[in-house]
Amino acid sequence: MTLDRDTAATDALLTDLYLDALLASVVLDAVAAGTPDDAAGQLDPAARRAADRLRHDLVRVHPSFRFEERLATRLAEAAVAMRVPLAAGAEGRVIAFRPGPGLDLDPGAAPPEAGADREEVPPNPSAPERIEADGDPARRVPTRPLLIGGALTSAALSIAGAAFVAWRLGRPGRASTPMARAARAVRDARLTSSLGSTVATRARSTARRLD
């Protein structure tokens, strides 16, 4: 039983070696030159013939160009959809925020020594390892995680949006396109008619009371 298994494993290994050579086109070149490979001689003839046939007949099939481009477009759309969350603020990351000397975020902590603090501040504030590596607890500046990037972007967009709306409402020469003028005229007419009807109703009620 074990012998059979060993024999099968050995045959399988020989076949594998033969296939490695075959797929690298070494065997075909050797056969063409009249010097067959050693592994091929020890191989089961049926397996060898099958390997040679399959090497020739099993070819790679390429899809149509139309399908290739259609799928490429679909993948690009999916990729763009994946990028949208990034643009909307997912790129914001939590970094260590080091407050300045005047900003005391931890009232219980001892005040840092003047002068020494400036030397301790690393050039890159997003390096928590350096802060942790500082052995002196008195010099350790309290760190606060801060989400930047996405939050700043959205805040900037909000401010820009508010400024734009204010400018649109406050600018002297308001929209002068025909459509805007027509819309404004309709709105003014409605206002006038509603005001007129209100005044007429009040006048009628006043007249009745006087009667």
């Binding site: 099968a8 494993a9 045959d11 399988a12 290994l13 076949t15 594998d16 296939l19 797929l23 089961d44 003839p45 049926a46 397996a47 060898r48 013939r49 099958a50 390997a51 046939r53 399959l54 090497r55 007949d57 099993l58 070819v59 790679r60 099939v61 390429h62 899809p63 399908f67 290739e68 799928l71 490429a72 679909r74 993948l75 690009a76 999916a78 990729a79 763009v80 994946m82 990028r83 590596a133």
Partner: protein, 223 residues
């Protein structure tokens, strides 16, 4: 074809004399590492990986499903799933995987295998069109040799199509995709030794099948 190499990766982190003397770790580089990293940074860069592996994935699906439309469907699902899951992909290339290994390719074909298995479950039937498929393979300009080539290719395809699923997959991955035993083992979730035995037995079966067919066709010619 780009060949991978053994990259020297600098060990970072940790300060002190002990880490300074530590030798650099040797890591096996995946052939597709630059493309994968670019695609993980920017999903639009996935196009390069798609172009590289489209024909391979499509061929695998076509040999498994035997129908162009089903193969297109499986290919589309595979690449969409790969794009969606690319952020979770981790390269695990080892020196033992050998030159030319790509763990991304193994990962991609694992997805393809699952997608194809789902489609198989959906339709509950075997590939039915080896003859039509073989007709596509034959050279359309070679009128005289075309018929013989087509018959031989069809016979080979039919013989492969009659194999049990695992053997058929292993043979297709070995001959069509020209994958190493290690890569096939990764895709099929088996040991390398088991894959070798699968392929060896598949070849013996196909050989006997083709020999028997050749004998019977000669007999029928004589008759």
């Amino acid at each position: 074809m780009a060949r991978p190499g053994l990259g020297r990766v600098k060990v970072t982190g940790g300060a002190g004399p002990a880490s300074a003397d530590r030798p650099a770790r040797i890591a096996h580089l995946d052939r597709d590492r630059p493309l994968v990293e670019a695609a993980q940074r920017d999903p639009l860069q996935f196009d390069s990986l798609y172009r590289r592996y489209l024909a391979q994935v499509y061929s695998f699906a076509f040999y498994e499903l035997g129908d162009h439309h089903d193969a297109e469907d499986a290919t589309e699902r595979t690449f969409l799933a790969a794009l969606a899951g690319l952020g979770r992909f981790e390269e695990r290339a080892r020196p033992a995987d050998g030159d030319g290994a790509s763990t991304f390719r193994v990962w991609l074909f694992q997805i393809a295998r699952n997608v194809i298995a789902n489609q198989h479950r959906g339709r509950r039937r075997h590939p039915q069109a080896p003859l039509e498929a073989a007709a596509l393979v034959a050279d359309p300009l070679d009128v005289e040799g075309g018929a013989t080539t087509r018959d031989e290719a069809a016979a080979a395809w039919q013989a492969v199509g009659r194999l049990p699923a695992d053997r058929r997959r292993a043979v297709v991955l070995r001959f069509v995709e020209e994958m190493s035993t290690a890569e096939i083992a990764g895709i099929l979730g088996r040991s390398e030794g088991a894959v070798r035995v699968l392929i060896h037995r598949a070849l013996r079966t196909v050989g006997r099948d083709l020999d028997g067919r050749g004998t019977s066709s000669h007999d029928s010619d004589r008759r």
